[in-house]
Amino acid sequence: MTDATNAINVQRLRKEFRVQKSREGLKGALRDLFNREYTTVRAVKDISFTIPKGEICGYIGENGAGKSTTIKMLTGILVPTSGEIEVNGFVPYKDRERFVRRIGVVFGQRSQLWWDIGVIESFRLLRKVYRVPEKEFKLRLDELTERLQLQDLLNRPVRKLSLGQRMRCELAASLLHNPDILFLDEPTIGLDIVVKTEIREFLKSMNRRYGTTVLLTTHDLQDIEALCSRVIMLDDGNIIYDGSLDELKTKWGKGRELSFRLHEPIPLNRLEQLTEGLGVTWTKENELTAKVWVPFDAAPVSAVLSRVVGAVEVGDVSILEPNTDDIVREIYKAGSAASPAETRGTDGASGNAGGGSTGGDGENHASEAKSGEDADRAPVTAQGAGKHG
């Protein structure tokens, strides 16, 4: 049964909750007293995935998608309705006490430290709870104290810590026993960017050093971009995407945004005139900056560039990466990552109607600014260029 390469193995996992239904009115309330009605809510719907040892995997989804429910089943808190779970060689809910000895868990929204006592007291208690030998504990604590900069925090009571300080202590607390798997449920929620970055750096280095498997849920996609080689996306209890972040971006990125810094103010309609028929959308950032959204299936970036650069004085051009937030928002809206939905707005359809000339200048500029990911996009761009060129 024990799996040598996989840290987490989940097969057709399902969790249902019985939720009490209240009837309306006084009569309903009376009836509720004697005969309750329940509705079954399926929070996690037969999901399957495996996570190899040493991987950092992001688990994302909207509120109520079933992320926390899954984490709670994986950590042995909740008992699944059906399906199989094996984590670190254990069935979490069956062999709970032995299983939790080898995992670490951080809930961003819930403190696990004892509220009224000093941080170091909490740590000492955890040492006893997890039966960590004194010597090992000291080494671990020294390392964690240094890496997470806890020196000044250790003697303060938890209730007097700021959120960022508390979070660093929570992380340290979850790692004192050097767990094989670390579960993080929204670890960066409510933290400022400095603490977020520190925590990400720390997690990365810990993963490299100890090969700790990490599963984290988050709403902050920058966490994912900074940490995860893999993303599992959940919607309404189903897995709608499981793969690398790059692939997700490639599949779902629907275009590029160009930002022009202009030499002199130019009205928006003048710019729109220039690119008429290309199916692009202009927005004005400020007097001297204009942005244009270029869908992949509309005009090629080069066509847009050549028309603009040829006609007006441009100080600088930058091509913006597709934003992960936007991509994920799109997927949430569509409810599936299987196939990208319609293009943004209606530009795509009208864009194909017009033609355009491809200027050499613009082409060069574009390829310089583009990132390495572009290889994946080649077919799309080529197709676009063919139509318009």
């Binding site: 809910y93 819930r110 004892w114 006592i117 709870v129």
Partner: protein
């Protein structure tokens, strides 16, 4: 592991020290209670020598020791557990390699020890100076009483845990908790010794666990019960302690599968 549980007792003890204001107000409340009941019973006794097999002195001692024992065995485990269930933080307890209920018990014990040393013992000394309290002269009685006091704590905590765990099954167990509190104070013999209840009532109470909390140890301490009956009283406590493990274990198992944690 035992080490960790002992540490939990110590930590709760330290926490109680940190929140001393509660403790001072508690002393006043208990002193008032003992005083009020002393005068009340004195009035009830009037000129009669004994009531329900207890002399005035025994009754005074009984009142004093009952309240001081209550300081030790009393805790708010029911409320703590219910709150942790309702706000979902009980989930965090499941990721630790220990038994949540034992942890709670240990915390209650730390609290109890704090009040025993800083409250009951000095309080009892003061009470014996103010009121005609007669302390047992036989060290054997003291020893048995202390063991019985420990069981008072265990049984009371078990009842608290049961009440608290109800929060898993009903949306609001506030009413249950209040009812339990009154039931424990009244039926345990804290307010009126069980022997003074009407015959039918005391017959019922003898079959309930509450009397094991206050009445039985109090009876031993005041010398109302002596000889072999002492061990009988102690045996009743032990039996109740063992019996109460069963519903707790059963509820805890059921609760595990019913556990519903707020949030997606």
């Amino acid at each position: 592991m035992v080490n960790a549980y002992v540490d939990l007792i110590r930590i709760r003890f330290m926490m109680m020290l940190a929140y001393r204001v509660n403790y001072y107000s508690g002393i006043v409340i208990y002193a008032l209670n003992i005083g009020a009941y002393y005068f009340l019973w004195k009035a009830i006794y009037g000129s009669s020598e004994s009531l329900g097999g207890m002399s005035v002195t025994q009754m005074t001692t009984y009142v004093a020791i009952s309240w001081m024992a209550r300081a030790f065995y009393f805790n708010n485990l029911d409320r703590e557990i219910a709150n942790e269930i309702r706000d979902g933080s009980v989930a965090v307890q499941f990721i630790r390699p220990y038994n949540y209920l034992i942890v709670k018990m240990m915390q209650g014990f730390g609290e109890g020890l704090f009040r025993l040393f800083l409250f009951s013992v000095p309080g009892m000394i003061v009470a014996s100076l103010l009121f005609p309290v007669v302390l047992p002269s036989n060290p054997g009685v003291w020893a048995v009483f202390l063991v019985m006091l420990l069981f008072s704590f265990l049984i009371n905590s078990q009842i608290n845990i049961l009440t608290g765990l109800l929060a898993f099954f009903v949306e609001n167990n506030e009413g249950m908790m209040r009812m339990k509190r009154v039931a424990v104070d009244l039926f345990s013999g804290l307010i009126i010794p069980v022997s003074l209840f009407p015959a039918a009532m005391s017959a019922v109470l003898e079959w309930l666990p509450f009397q094991a909390i206050t009445y039985l140890p109090g009876s031993v301490f005041t010398g109302r019960v002596t000889g072999a009956a002492v061990y009988q009283a102690f045996a009743v406590q032990v039996v109740w302690f063992l019996i109460l493990i069963v519903p707790i274990w059963w509820m805890w198992r059921r609760a595990r599968s019913r556990l519903f944690v707020q949030g997606g």
